[in-house]
Symmetry: C2
Subunit: 227 residues, 2 copies
Amino acid sequence: MSPRRSYDQYCSAARALDTVGDRWTLLIVRELLAGPRRYTDLHADLPGVSTDVLASRLKDMERDGLTTRRRLPPPGAVYVYELTRRGSELLPVLQALGAWGQAALGERRPTDAVRAHWFALPLLRALEGVGAGEGRGAGEGEGGLVEVRLEEGMFHLQVGAVDGPVHGSGSVYGDGPAPGVPDATLVLGTDTCTAISRGESTVAEAVRDGRVTVSGHGTLAKALREV
Amino acid sequence: MSPRRSYDQYCSAARALDTVGDRWTLLIVRELLAGPRRYTDLHADLPGVSTDVLASRLKDMERDGLTTRRRLPPPGAVYVYELTRRGSELLPVLQALGAWGQAALGERRPTDAVRAHWFALPLLRALEGVGAGEGRGAGEGEGGLVEVRLEEGMFHLQVGAVDGPVHGSGSVYGDGPAPGVPDATLVLGTDTCTAISRGESTVAEAVRDGRVTVSGHGTLAKALREV
DNA sequence: CGGCATCCGTGACGATACTG
DNA sequence: CAGTATCGTCACGGATGCCG
């Protein structure tokens, strides 16, 4: 039962909000865009959500076709939640929200939690803007697997996976090293990552300044070096 | 005060949800994208919202810089609410939500309310896809003022006003006839409008079938006739 | 009459404790 | 580890009243 209260409006935006308009739902999607996760991990990366609300949302989301619950093969037969394709198609919604909220991000408040993979969404947006600079029109830009290394940890992105997630589930980014040989590897500091997230700096600028070190042989790595 | 409960996460999407994640807020934005409106009109077009919640949201939104309250010049000196530029920049969020929710729109339920201008958002999306068919790359498509006539009433669209709203406030569509000579006029039935909103039919198809009649001399009108 | 403020019942939410 | 159970609080929806 999504919001037991539907807006009861014949409008696709209102229908979307009937499904994902509840508190925490879109943030759970943000977490699951990083790949399959366990209940406890979700609870740890969503500080403030109570256990019953998280359980309730996960049930609603499964019922609404956004997620599936799956038992990992033994050993360590635990349950993981992962997005369905339908669920991963919420990426543009989170991108639009992130783009709008970027202007209000400001400084980090002492009460604000941070996770390394929360930078994945803004970085993904920043990197998908790289190929769109010149001609090529509706062009794909340069896609590929990108590994990002921060002090706090690393994560990886699947650039250009807008509606064709690559590795199995609907994940377009994930914690930890890239599952394979990355087409590009980015090394940068938290402050630089923050500046890019806030839109104060572009990736190209940061590469030029040496605040981002690019390695790798993919077309995106080359494009980033050839500012 | 927006959701008195902030997510307290240093993430731009979470920040956006701190501001617009409350119940009804984004639907109020959808209404105000049609131009300045009075309290009573908002209440009439948002069936189900209680008076105090609507008043509270409007205060929060003004406080957060999404809307302004303005007194119309006499006679008829009433207060109207209108979007600030910041508020109108939520259009991409509503577009993304609408695009996603379109798959779940389905048939109209007996409990569903409908308003003619709720078709403006999906039609706007459909029309902005017209120019992107062929080359031209990041091209502007064909913009212009479009008047849409349904049985239930007419409304008008400002196609291509993504981040440059044209007439004064941040409205990108509005009730009633176009405020000026439209570059194109579309006449169509509710069922056709519904089919386009649900993504079952494109505008081009509907024009070809004769379910949409196009008049006007703008580039968009020509593009629609030259399927 | 339009534009809210007040009151009240219900349900959603957040924190903590507890269980298979 | 993965939730369920309990409980206090607050947000929401509906109705009604006030005030210009």
